[in-house]
């Protein structure tokens, strides 16, 4: 047992879905167990952090790290596992691009704490208690890991060898990665495990020349099952999303949400969605354009649903703009006032 390469799986700020996705490689898991010494996975194994600290640097062959980085603990674990691992894989959307936790970057810490612990309609908290990083109680001082204002991705805090996107990643790509490691045929560092085309490549729907005159919400129309959803006015991020999932969402009549992130070569997937979708609007005056864009509420939410933390702007602005807290202002007026003309 001792001679086998060591494998670690860690979850930072994540939902646990990535661990389940690993099980979806079915019987291949047995080969993995044969080949690797499975030393760390807080979700299923009772190994402690001290066990990892006790290892030599670089003693772990591969660490599959899922989850975003948003607390001091996440960072410590990322740095620790980086030090101890030869290969660190950003596993799943949270670790590669921020994913749902990254949406917290539309707010700041204070707003989030207030909403989650005080203002959410489902919360009863008349004393207004919110968690603190340190508190003195009768038994002594209690500490919680520091909670960040901004969610980061794994590669924004430590160097990463490979990326395996998806929320969660598809089994075939997990297999491909594991097999590559087992076969000792590692791709060059920086590689994203997946395809470099977009979801459209895998999507069987029939596409036509694009022209959008209205965006529909999914509940507003019953889409033709054979035609491109975007052609029918349904938002679909497939045009700017890395293929690899087999066009899962479009095949069940839902527009792609973009969990695989932008494809190879694209720096900011949201910007590309803006460019592509705006280009094909069927409007030639500011008024007509506004009319169509009014049918697409929350554009930033659509375009940066998975990638906000890894996008170029990374988060909403924290600083004051004209003496007002911008984030708060945005919350009240989610859309640009259509009267503001160029």
């Amino acid at each position: 047992m001792g001679d086998k390469p060591k494998l670690a799986i860690y979850w930072a700020s994540s939902c646990g879905g990535c661990e389940i996705a690993i099980l979806a490689i079915h019987e291949k898991i047995l080969d993995v167990a044969d080949y690797f010494d499975f030393i760390f996975c807080p979700c299923i194994l009772d190994f402690k952090r001290s066990d990892i600290e006790a290892l030599e640097d670089g003693e772990i062959a591969v660490t599959l790290f899922n989850g975003a980085i948003r607390t001091d603990e996440n960072l410590e674990m990322a740095e620790l596992l980086r030090r101890k691992s030869q290969v660190l894989v950003a596993f799943g959307s949270c670790a590669t691009e921020g994913c749902a936790p990254g949406l917290a970057n539309f707010n700041d810490r204070e707003q989030m704490m207030n909403f989650i612990y005080k203002d959410a309609p489902t919360v009863v908290n008349p004393e207004g208690i919110i968690p603190l990083e340190a508190i003195q109680v009768a038994e002594g001082e209690l500490e919680l890991p520091g909670f960040w204002n901004t969610v980061k991705t794994l590669d924004q805090v430590v160097p990463v060898e490979y990326y395996l996107p998806g929320c969660p990643p598809e089994a075939k790509w997990i297999e491909a990665l594991v097999e590559a490691v087992m076969a000792g045929e590692l791709p060059p560092p920086g590689t994203v495990v997946g395809m470099d085309v977009t979801v459209c490549d895998e999507c069987p729907r029939e596409r036509e020349e694009k022209k959008i005159s209205h965006f529909y919400r999914p509940y507003e129309i019953i889409p033709d099952p054979d035609k491109c959803l975007l052609d029918q006015g349904l938002f679909c991020a497939g045009i700017a999303t890395r293929a690899g999932c087999g066009a899962l969402c479009p095949s069940v009549n839902m527009g792609c949400r973009g969990c695989y992130g932008p494809n190879e070569g694209v720096i900011d997937g949201g910007a590309k969605l803006i460019s592509a979708l705006a280009s094909v609007l069927d409007a030639n005056s500011p008024e007509e354009i506004d009319k169509i864009l009014d049918t697409l509420p929350d554009p930033a939410g659509y375009f940066y649903r998975f990638g906000l933390a890894h996008s170029m702007l990374h988060r909403t602005r924290l600083e004051m703009e004209n003496g007002q807290k911008m984030a708060a202002q945005i919350k009240e007026t989610p859309r640009l006032d259509p009267k503001l003309k160029d």
Binding site: A176, G190, R207, I267, V280
Partner: protein
């Protein structure tokens, strides 16, 4: 690879133009610190032969792989320095120009420090961009020797004759049944008072009989595809309802035709024509057309008088439009102008007050073959006016209509004043804002008119009214104007008013400019490539403009421009092939996912969707390099040559050299292979 580039930076003083404001030595010294810069110099005049040699020497001796010249606008000297690079063996597309004159020294003359800082940013941006440039080769294509000339007015006629006389084929397309244009409507031309028909008719005849000219009248160009040297045009030949092979132009048909209508085109609304008609006796070609809208047979199925009387059975009521698709190498647009519609200024009474005429109506009136046989008469067709007012600038130099000067009206007004004097005893009053008589011999004509006793009143007329205030005004048209030379309001009662209506772009000039892929000014005149140095070419290579479609001008100017357009065409034909700028889009088909976002965006239909491969492809011959598809491609697999994603991203970084966050990692992408 960009890490190994050797960049040479040259800062031009441009005499005092740049160096007077920007610290050019300082910028050159500072530029040495930029990454990859191996040479950085300043020089008095980079565009001089010595300046260019400096670059050539450094390329040879220092092995420069990129060159940046910080000087004037690339629209001025980019070709110059590309040439220098080329001579030294460096691909000309590895040259980048930094515009520190028009965009820095000249606009920040009051603040040398700010201008110098800005110049640094511009240079830094250019260096960063240069690092990412890639060598390109221009496309070469052979030139089709046939030329299309659109418009058979004097400009188009002259263009066609110049090219045809040089031995090359011309297709001349004219919308009306005859060539001749506005000039054919005039009687005399200023300032020489030459008979317009006498000088135009021979040229029209030459066009009609030239072995190298294929004349298509009553025809319009419907579609244009392709690029310089290789255009494909689709021409609609409207049905004349006349078999021109049989017709002899004898005139039996129009003499017998019972349908009379007001001729709003050739006679400018002042005379009549029949439903089957030849616009005027000297028309080329001589064949008539049937105007199906006013023809009694086409309206209610009876008549056919023309058919009965035609000696050669040339009338063909069932003739249909003909579509001709042909290829041409160059196109000259000489589509002319529309007259400003004077009814848009109701205060001058045109259409309300019988004896208010437009300038074109008056042209027809004074024409010996016109509706009054050349007599100057009031609308009743009998009375000779005793006094005539000529109002300048109707629909010109007026922000409510057209703010530009129509250039010819002052001279035409002088000509009219002379003709009125010549033909009647009337007093003539010219109401003008400024007299504009610049070209050769025009001022002499103005002086002559002053001696002839024409009254000149400096002031734009406010209104023309029949509301009399005094007994002597009763029954007259009263022109009210402020005489700005004496500072008084004046009311001049006259019998006849002539409105010098301005020149307007053709009503469909926007549409036509789109069809031919050229630009249009705010007003609707076609945009030239350069207002000073290239007023003949357009932004679309191989398409030239001549005559008033480019801007108001008189006959000699139109003739000159037509000849100039012909010489441009001939020099291209003589060269035999064209070089096309390699600024083009290219789709990486291996990575294209076929989402079809780009398909509809190309104004030139250069993007085809290949159904079998489910990918899109750019036809490089049709692509003009605008980059719209490049920016729109959601998966960034379309590359815009010379304006690549990396080159622009890099230029942004360079421009922001002083405000970029320190130590922040550069955002780049590496192409990596999937597992």
């Amino acid at each position: 690879m960009s890490e190994e580039e050797k960049i040479g930076v040259y800062i031009c003083h441009c005499g005092h133009n740049i160096a007077g404001t920007v610290d050019v030595e300082g910028v050159a010294e500072w530029a040495k610190s930029l990454p990859n810069v191996t040479v950085s110099k300043d020089y008095k005049f980079m565009c001089s032969s010595l300046g260019q040699e400096l670059i050539e020497e450094d390329i040879a001796e220092q092995g420069l792989s990129r060159v940046v010249v910080a000087a004037c606008s690339p629209h001025m000297h980019e070709p110059t320095f590309r040439g220098a690079c080329s001579r030294a063996g460096l691909n000309p597309y590895l040259f980048e120009m930094a515009n520190i004159r028009e965009h820095a020294s000249w606009v920040h003359q009051d603040d040398g420090e700010a201008a110098t800082e800005k110049a640094k940013s511009i240079v830094s941006g250019a260096v960063s961009r240069a690092r990412e440039l890639e060598p390109l080769e221009p496309f070469r294509a052979p030139i089709d020797e046939t030329t299309l000339v659109v418009g058979g007015g004097i400009a188009g006629i002259n263009t066609a004759l110049e090219i045809a006389n040089a031995g090359y084929k011309v297709i001349l397309v004219e919308r009306e049944p005859s060539i001749g244009g506005h000039m054919a409507q005039f009687d005399k031309t200023f300032p020489t008072l030459d008979c317009s028909a006498c000088i135009l008719t021979p040229k029209m005849f030459d066009v009609g009989n030239h072995p190298n000219i294929e004349l298509m009248t009553y025809s319009e160009v419907e579609q244009v595809d392709g690029y310089v040297g290789n255009f494909t045009v689709r021409i609609r030949k409207k049905a004349r309802m006349i078999d021109v092979d049989l017709c002899t132009g004898c005139g039996d048909c129009w003499e017998r035709c019972p349908a009379k209508v007001v001729d709003t085109v050739y006679e400018a609304g002042l005379g009549y024509r029949t439903a089957v008609y030849r616009p005027f006796p000297q028309a080329v070609p001589k064949y008539p057309v049937i105007d199906t809208e006013s023809c009694i047979y086409f309206k209610n199925g009876r008549c056919r008088a023309c058919e009965k009387f035609c000696p050669t059975d040339a009338i063909k009521f069932d003739q249909e439009d003909e579509i001709i698709v042909t290829s041409v190498g160059n196109i000259v647009l000489a589509t002319g102008y529309d007259l400003f519609d004077s009814r848009r200024l109701p205060q001058y009474g045109y259409g309300r007050l019988a004896n208010v005429f437009t300038s074109l109506e008056f042209e027809r009136m004074t024409n010996a073959s016109g509706p009054t046989d050349g007599k100057v008469l009031l609308r009743d067709g009998v009375t000779e006016p005793k006094s005539v007012a000529i109002l300048h600038c109707i629909g010109s130099r007026d922000k409510n209509t057209n703010d530009y000067c129509s250039a010819i009206c002052c001279m035409a007004a002088l000509k009219f004043a002379h003709l009125v004097k010549e033909k009647t005893d009337a007093e003539v009053y010219n109401f003008y804002i400024d007299m504009r008589t610049a070209p050769k011999d025009y001022e002499t004509f103005y002086n002559r008119l002053m001696q002839e006793g024409t009254h000149f009143i400096r002031g734009r007329a406010a209104e023309v009214t029949d509301a009399a205030r005094k007994p002597e005004e009763v029954g007259k048209l009263i022109v009210q104007a402020e005489d700005t030379l004496i500072g008084k309001q004046r009311r001049i009662p006259v019998d006849m008013v002539i409105l010098m209506a301005g020149m307007q772009p053709r009503h469909d000039s926007q549409e036509v400019s789109h069809r031919f892929g050229i630009g249009c000014s705010d007003a609707g005149f076609f945009n030239e490539s350069h207002p000073k140095l290239d007023p003949i070419a357009t932004m679309n290579a191989g398409i030239f403009i001549a005559g008033v479609c480019q801007g108001p001008k008189d006959i000699p100017a139109s003739v000159s421009q037509g000849a100039a357009a012909a010489s441009r065409v001939l020099s291209l034909i003589g060269k035999g092939e064209v070089e096309i700028e390699p600024v083009r889009a290219h789709i990486d088909e291996d990575r294209c996912s076929g989402c079809r976002i780009c398909n509809n965006l190309c104004p030139y239909n250069a993007i085809d969707f290949l159904e079998d491969l489910a990918v899109s492809r750019v036809n490089p011959a049709l692509c003009k390099g605008c980059g719209t598809c490049v920016a729109a491609c959601p998966s960034q697999v379309i590359d815009g040559q010379h304006y690549t994603f990396n080159s622009i991203m890099s230029q942004i970084e360079g421009l922001l050299w002083d405000v970029r966050p320190n130590g922040e990692e550069k955002v780049t992408f590496q192409k990596t292979e999937p597992v």
